[in-house]
Each structure stands twice: as structure tokens, then as C-alpha cells.
């Protein structure tokens, strides 16, 4: 494998890791607050559709992004009402959101565009275009560092940089602010927060809302940056891989970055069987790579590689007792 192939592979890793990272951080906020969310997938899918649809209609990708985030927030609120206000089962609510999104997106797409559940292909201002960082072209000829800067670091869409910037921001919010302290506390022991005179419900809604925003960006990225338009089921299990990454990352922001990059690399390799064959001298089925994130998560969950301890109050509705 030559250097340029490596750069290409890593470049595609970054692209594929971005939606995983955004969804993983979304899940991190929600689960750190004690609300398990298997509806990441559905929220991404809904956001992917609405951002592509609005971008196609208005020709503005920014309006599309806003619509994607709004749709994702709407589903988040549904999850919040079901699991926080009415103390329903968080898994069931999440599953319902996934089904709802899978069905509704295609239904509405067909009604609006009559293209078999797709949106029209996005062009020009309807897409997030790659951003060329300063001096990228000038430095491209510098050996080693040049291609890394020009090919790998430069040339991504705005949302990619946003996703990577969200990692330190998430860390800072969680571990350096009052909101973060309370958020982590409410996922560990809501009774401690409640008796300290802080509203458990408000905190959990805030977490779920942040989750909605991040999922919305992840979905918008799929249909307006990674692809040019929405197709049926385009989230393709990324919400679940993000959940796997969250467990893999032990609910920590920096680990989430590494986990999603690793899973992104598997995704990139899936499309380049020639690279694998060149490196390990063996043919590997693409499906195996696709399954690797899940396999690794099962191994982690079984406790072989360190222990992943979820937030202690995760999944449990808070019922005030005496």
C-alpha cells in the first residue's frame, strides 16, 4: 500500500466517522443523563430526509440543516415525553421512534417528490461543499505533511469540522461546567440531584434536546454532505453503530472520538478490499468488517477489555420516593 492510498483511506475514514461521532456524542449526552436512546437511528434518518427535502425545495442547505435539526428535536421530545414525563420504557420509545422515522420519511418523500421515496439530487447551494483550508494547494507538494494537510485535513465539509470540534466542547461542558456536573449526577443518582433542589425533569429534557440537535446534524450530514440527497433507510444502521461506539468509548467524549474513528476505518476498508488483501495477504469479506463494530462491542460488554460501566441510573425512569 502506498502513502497516497493510506491518505485516501484515512480521508474516507474521517468522512464515515463524522456521522458516527455526532450520533455518538448525541447518545453520550442523553445516556449520561440517564436516558437510554436507541432512537438515534430514527432521528438521524428523519433529519437526513427533512434536511435534504428542505434543501431541495429552498435550494439552501442551511435551511435544510435547520429543518433536519428541528425534525430530530421533535422526535427527541417525543422520546422525552414518553420516557421522562410519562416514565415509559425508554427502549420501547426508542424502537417506536426508529419505526416511525423509517416509515414516515419514505411516505412523505413519495408524497412530496414522487421519486420512489427519494428526494431529488441536491446541487450547488443545496449541499455542504468541501472547504479548502488556507494554503492547502500551495502546501500540497511538500513531502509527507503536504498531502496530509491538503488531502486529509483540508477539503471536508463544514459539518466534519463541527463534529470534531464538538468533542472537546462536550468534554468541557461535561467536566468543567455546573450543567455538566448536574447532568452526570442525574444519570448516576437522580435522587441526589432531586434532594439538592435541582429539577431532574428539566435536566433530562435538556440532555434529550442536545441529543436531538446533534442527531439532527448527523442526519443532515448524511444527505447533504456525504451524499447528495435522501434515499430510503440511508442511515443504514449508523445509529446503532454509534451506540456500540458509545459503549466502546465508555461514555467518554475523547474515547468516543477514537471509537468512531476506528469504526469509520472499518467502514472505509469495507469499500477497499484490495487494501486489506495487500496488507494482510488474505481476502476478507466486506460483511465481516461491517459486523466488526458489533463484535467488538460484545467483547467489551463481556468485560474482556476493561469494564464498560454505564451510568448507574440509565434506563430507569425517576420516581421520587419519600
Amino acid at each position: 500500500m502506498d502513502f497516497l492510498t493510506l491518505i485516501q483511506l484515512l480521508d474516507s475514514t474521517v468522512r464515515l466517522a463524522t456521522p458516527l461521532l455526532l450520533a455518538c456524542l448525541a447518545g453520550l449526552f442523553s445516556e449520561r443523563a440517564g436516558i437510554f436512546d436507541i432512537g438515534l437511528e430514527g432521528k438521524m434518518l428523519a433529519a437526513a430526509f427533512f434536511s435534504a427535502a428542505v434543501a431541495a425545495i429552498t435550494g439552501s442547505v442551511w435551511l435544510g440543516l435547520a429543518a433536519g435539526i428541528a425534525s430530530s428535536i421533535a422526535l427527541s421530545l417525543l422520546h422525552g415525553v414518553a420516557s421522562i414525563t410519562f416514565r415509559g420504557n425508554q427502549l420501547i420509545s426508542g424502537v417506536a421512534i426508529n419505526f416511525l422515522a423509517a416509515g414516515l420519511t419514505v411516505l412523505i418523500a413519495q408524497d412530496w417528490f414522487q421519486q420512489g421515496g427519494r428526494t431529488p439530487s441536491l446541487m450547488g447551494g443545496g449541499r455542504f461543499e468541501p472547504i479548502t483550508l488556507p494554503f492547502a494547494d500551495a502546501l500540497a507538494s511538500v513531502p509527507v505533511l503536504g498531502p496530509i494537510y491538503a488531502e486529509l485535513i483540508s477539503g471536508h465539509s463544514f459539518l466534519v469540522y463541527l463534529a470534531f470540534a464538538a468533542v472537546p466542547l462536550t468534554w468541557w461542558v461535561l467536566f468543567r461546567t455546573r450543567f455538566g456536573l448536574r447532568l452526570r449526577a442525574v444519570g448516576e443518582n437522580p435522587a441526589a440531584v432531586d434532594t439538592a433542589g435541582v429539577s431532574v425533569v428539566a435536566l433530562r429534557y435538556a440532555a434529550v434536546l442536545i441529543c436531538g440537535v446533534l442527531c439532527g446534524i448527523a442526519g443532515a450530514y448524511l444527505s447533504t454532505a456525504l451524499q447528495a440527497g435522501f434515499v430510503k433507510d440511508m442511515s443504514a444502521g449508523r445509529g446503532f453503530i454509534a451506540l456500540a461506539a458509545l459503549i466502546f468509548a465508555k461514555w467518554r467524549p475523547w474515547y468516543a472520538l477514537w471509537a468512531t474513528l476506528l469504526f469509520g476505518l472499518f467502514g472505509a476498508l469495507e469499500t477497499r478490499p484490495d487494501v486489506i488483501q495487500a496488507v494482510i495477504g488474505m481476502k476478507v469479506q466486506g460483511q465481516l468488517l461491517g459486523a466488526l463494530p458489533y463484535i467488538m462491542t460484545v467483547i467489551i460488554l463481556a468485560g474482556f477489555v476493561g469494564k464498560a460501566v454505564p451510568p448507574r441510573a440509565g434506563g430507569e425512569p425517576y420516581v421520587k420516593e419519600r
Partner: protein, 508 residues
């Protein structure tokens, strides 16, 4: 505001949950700088009253005055601003946070953590000097012992400038030494002018620590008296409305052959920690051996091994025949077939399935017993009848076998478990915490049943963290500390002080 206004005064507080009147027209007044005890049986309404004070429930009627001023307490935030701090029976701490983080939670200054943490660190040093409450601010809660965790709870309240401190059953989880320390701290707080309300069902603590005491019974405040003008016997009578025996009435034991013989028993848990470090014990027919000790020193593991759901090395014989400690024969059903009855420590998790009916619960462990089967099916109506009869004999109220286990009170749940195990006529009965969360009336009955079984010549192994109970019930006492037996005493030749030292790991 008058200078001699009570720190806290309740007038005519009433609260009903559906048809149940939890608090009926309750009035108390506590002067500043005093320790006021509230004593009563489980379900007497103590906790409801405190929840009203801390803004968890809203009273149907009545008024609360803090330092002479009428105060509404709609939520915990209001209670905190009124200067009320609460130390709950089950601590409200975030286990993987540090002491400092727990203390500032909800009382931060501003949006960023660093300044809040720095300020709390400084305040903590001041509080430490003022009240002698030292604790490492950077320790993580889950690494601290319960005594220390409780201290963090008290510090949390003081950090929020609480003047009134409410402690709910604070000594339930403490060693006698830790409890003494707690009461020293409370004394110090009282000297500094804090007002303390101590909720407990332990008469001894009321007598030792409080200035005034109120007694609650069935939602009503039956009396408020000065502590030095009353006696434990009088308080006990006020609590239950009749005289109760604080000592168990029993004849001297007539012991027979060795029923249970344990030699060199070791248990290593999943984390590779040795929980039992070579236990030797014998229990004879016709005697009650009490295992005393602070919770978590290996008593639970001992019961689990004997009950058949924990693996161990060493040897155990029952009536001279060895028990299988690791293989196929080490399960609850086989143990029961061998004649070991087991009343587990945690009846709600191990003794019963709370959502199942009393008769289903009565069949557990004995579902293959003759009379309970009808071919391959269970003979439900036979089990139901049998359960009804057992419930009569053990005075379970209400005596309805179809009611779910969770619908019974703690004492009646325990009677259901006890009836299931005792009526199978076991050679050895294992009893863990027989009266935890059980009211005094039922305690008496349960103790009588255990003594009656002993008098039939059965061997009984009793594990309890209540020293009073061990001393009253057991014929012989073994004290466990850190997985070993610290010593054995005849219960009529020892006292709480000597056992307390052994429980703390001090060889006497």
C-alpha cells in the same frame, strides 16, 4: 421574630394517601440548640412527616413555622432555603463523584465548576475545624465507608447553611463505634446552636442522644416528653400501645448432637477478594447460634454458602453427612431436601418474588414436594389451601393466599417466608436479619417462632446486625469481622460492649 421562638414548629399537619391517614393532626415544636427524637414503629408516619418538611409531599392541612415565621415548603429547594438539611437513611450521593463534587451539587456558584470547587474546599476546611468533621475532599464516594459517606451528607447540609438537621435512621448501617462518633458530632452541632431532629426506632439512641422525644403511633403523635423524664419501657409502650417484652422469653437451651459442622470454610468472590477466610463453626440441636457483626463482614456469604448459592472450599457436614459445596448438589433445592430451611437476609429480593402471590411464594423451593404436585403439574389448589393454613398459624394479616407478596407489610412478608421454611420442619434453620424493617408487634411473634423451633430440638443459625436481637435470641454468639470469627461467647455471659469490640475487630 421572638428570641425564644422554636426553631421549627408544626401545627396540625395532616396527610392522607387515599384511605390511609399517614399523618393525623401532628403538632410539635423544637427549640433551637436541642436534639429532638422522633420514635415510632415502621409505618407510624415518621418518614411521611419528614418528607413533608423536606418538600417531598404537600400536607393536606397544617402549617410549618421556621424560627417563628410561617413557611411554605413546596419543594426541596424551598426546604434548603429555609435552612433545613436532611440526611436520608439511604444516602443521596453520587457514588462515582468526589466528596467535593457531591457537596457542591445543586449549590454551585456560577456556571463554571472550578471556582465552586475552590470555594467549597475552603469552606470544608472551616467546617472541619468548627465541628470536627474531617473527610478527604478528593476521595471518591464509593471508596468511603458508610460512616464517612454519612459525614459527607451532614457536610452537604452544613454547606447549604442548614440550621435544622434531620437525620432519618442514621445508625442503621453504622458500627457501634461509628454510631458513638456520630452522636459526638451531633452533640458538637448542638453546642454550635444547630437544631437536630433524630428519627429512629432504637430506644437506646433516643435515651442517649436526645433532649426531648416525640412518639408516633399510627400516624398520630401520642406524646412529647423530656427524655430525662421518661424510660425505655414507657416509650416502648407509647409506641405500640401496650407493654412489649424487650427480652425474649425462653428457657435455657437443652442441646443435643452437632447438627452443623463447618471447618475451614473459604469463599473467594468474583473480584478475587477473600470473603470468608477459614471459618470453623458448630451448631448443635436445640440451640440458636447468633452471628453478630457489622454488615459486610462475611455473614451474607456464610448464609449463601449454606443456602446453596455460593461456592466455597472447606468442609461442611450436616448430621455427619458432608454437603456438596461446589458441584451439582450445591443449590437451594438440594439443600432444602437435606433439611436446611433458609430465611434469607433480604426477603424482598431473595426470599420472595414481590409480584407473585403468597401461595406461589410459599411453593418456592418446595414446588416438588409431595402434596404440591399433581402428575407433572403443580396442584395449585392444594398449595393454596396449605398456604392459607400456614398463614393462619403464623398470623399473617390479611390471611389471603392470593394477594401479591408486595401487598403485605414487612412483618407479614417475613411471616410468609418464615412459615414456608419452618413448617417444613428443617433440621437446620438459617435465619438472616429476621426482623429487619419489621414492627415491634411482629418482632415478638417472629422471635417466639424461632425459639419454639429451637425447643423442638432443631439447630438454628441466626445472622443479625442488631446486637440487641442477637443477645436476646441466641444461646451462643459468634462475632464475625473481615471474614473470620473473632470470638464466641455464651450470650448470658457477655454484653453489648464486649461484642461491640469484637465487631470492630478488636480481639478481647
Amino acid at each position: 421574630m421572638a428570641d425564644n421562638a422554636p426553631a421549627i414548629e408544626l401545627k396540625g399537619i395532616s396527610k392522607a394517601f387515599g384511605p390511609v391517614q399517614a399523618n393525623k393532626d401532628i403538632s410539635i415544636s423544637v427549640m433551637p440548640g436541642t436534639i429532638h427524637g422522633i420514635i415510632g414503629e415502621n409505618g407510624a408516619g415518621k418518614s411521611t412527616l419528614m418528607s413533608i418538611l423536606y418538600g417531598f409531599y404537600k400536607a393536606d392541612r397544617g402549617e410549618i413555622f421556621i424560627s417563628g415565621r410561617k413557611t411554605e415548603i413546596p419543594d426541596s429547594q424551598a426546604a434548603i432555603s429555609a435552612g433545613i438539611g436532611m440526611v436520608f437513611q439511604h444516602f443521596k450521593l453520587v457514588e462515582n463523584f468526589t466528596v467535593l463534587e457531591n457537596i457542591i451539587l445543586g449549590a454551585e456558584d456560577g456556571g463554571l465548576l472550578r471556582p465552586s470547587l475552590a470555594k467549597a474546599r475552603k469552606t470544608l476546611v472551616e467546617l472541619e475545624q468548627e465541628y470536627g468533621l474531617n473527610v478527604d475532599p478528593d476521595a471518591v464516594i464509593q471508596d468511603l465507608g458508610v460512616g464517612m459517606q454519612q459525614r459527607v451528607e451532614i457536610l452537604k447540609a452544613l454547606y447549604r447553611q442548614a440550621d435544622i438537621l434531620i437525620l432519618d435512621e442514621p445508625t442503621g448501617v453504622l458500627t457501634p463505634a461509628e454510631a458513638d462518633q456520630l452522636f459526638r458530632i451531633l452533640g458538637r452541632l448542638r453546642e454550635e446552636g444547630k437544631t437536630i431532629i433524630l428519627i429512629t426506632h432504637k430506644l437506646r439512641e433516643i435515651m442517649e442522644a436526645t433532649d426531648t422525644v416525640s412518639v408516633m403511633r399510627r400516624g398520630e403523635m401520642t406524646a412529647t416528653v423530656k427524655t430525662h423524664q421518661t424510660s425505655p419501657a414507657e416509650l416502648a409502650e407509647l409506641m405500640v400501645g401496650r407493654k412489649v417484652l424487650l427480652r425474649v422469653d425462653k428457657k435455657p437451651a437443652t442441646t443435643g448432637d452437632v447438627v452443623l459442622d463447618i471447618k475451614g470454610l473459604r469463599v473467594v468472590d468474583d473480584q478475587k477478594v477473600e470473603r470468608l477466610k477459614g471459618i470453623d463453626l458448630q451448631v448443635r440441636a436445640g440451640e440458636i447460634l447468633g452471628i453478630a457483626g457489622v454488615a459486610g463482614n462475611g455473614q451474607s456469604e456464610l448464609l449463601e454458602v449454606l443456602g446453596g448459592y455460593e461456592k466455597a472450599t472447606g468442609s461442611i457436614t450436616l448430621n455427619g453427612q458432608p454437603l456438596d459445596l461446589t458441584g451439582k448438589g450445591s443449590d437451594g433445592r438440594t439443600r432444602r431436601q437435606r433439611g436446611i430451611g433458609h430465611v434469607p437476609e433480604d426477603r424482598q429480593r431473595e426470599g420472595l418474588i414481590m409480584d407473585f402471590s403468597a401461595w406461589e411464594n410459599t411453593a418456592f423451593g418446595y414446588h416438588r414436594a409431595p402434596g404440591y404436585q399433581n402428575g407433572v403439574l403443580m396442584d395449585n389448589s392444594a398449595i393454596r389451601e396449605d398456604t392459607a393454613a400456614k398463614m393462619q398459624r403464623f398470623d399473617v394479616r390479611p390471611p389471603n393466599p392470593s394477594l401479591a407478596a408486595k401487598s403485605f407489610s414487612g412483618g407479614n412478608q417475613q411471616k410468609i417466608v418464615l412459615a414456608r421454611e419452618i413448617e417444613r420442619n428443617p433440621d437446620l434453620l438459617l435465619v438472616g436479619q429476621p426482623t429487619r424493617g419489621v414492627d415491634i408487634g411482629a418482632i415478638e411473634f417472629i422471635h417466639q417462632q424461632i425459639v419454639a423451633l429451637r425447643d423442638q430440638g432443631k439447630a438454628i443459625l441466626l445472622v443479625s446486625v442488631e446486637l440487641e436481637e442477637i443477645l436476646a435470641l441466641a444461646d451462643r454468639v459468634a462475632v464475625m469481622f473481615d471474614g473470620v470469627i473473632m470470638g464466641e461467647r455464651m450470650s448470658d455471659q457477655t454484653d453489648e460492649k464486649e461484642l461491640g469490640l469484637l465487631m470492630a475487630g478488636v480481639a478481647a
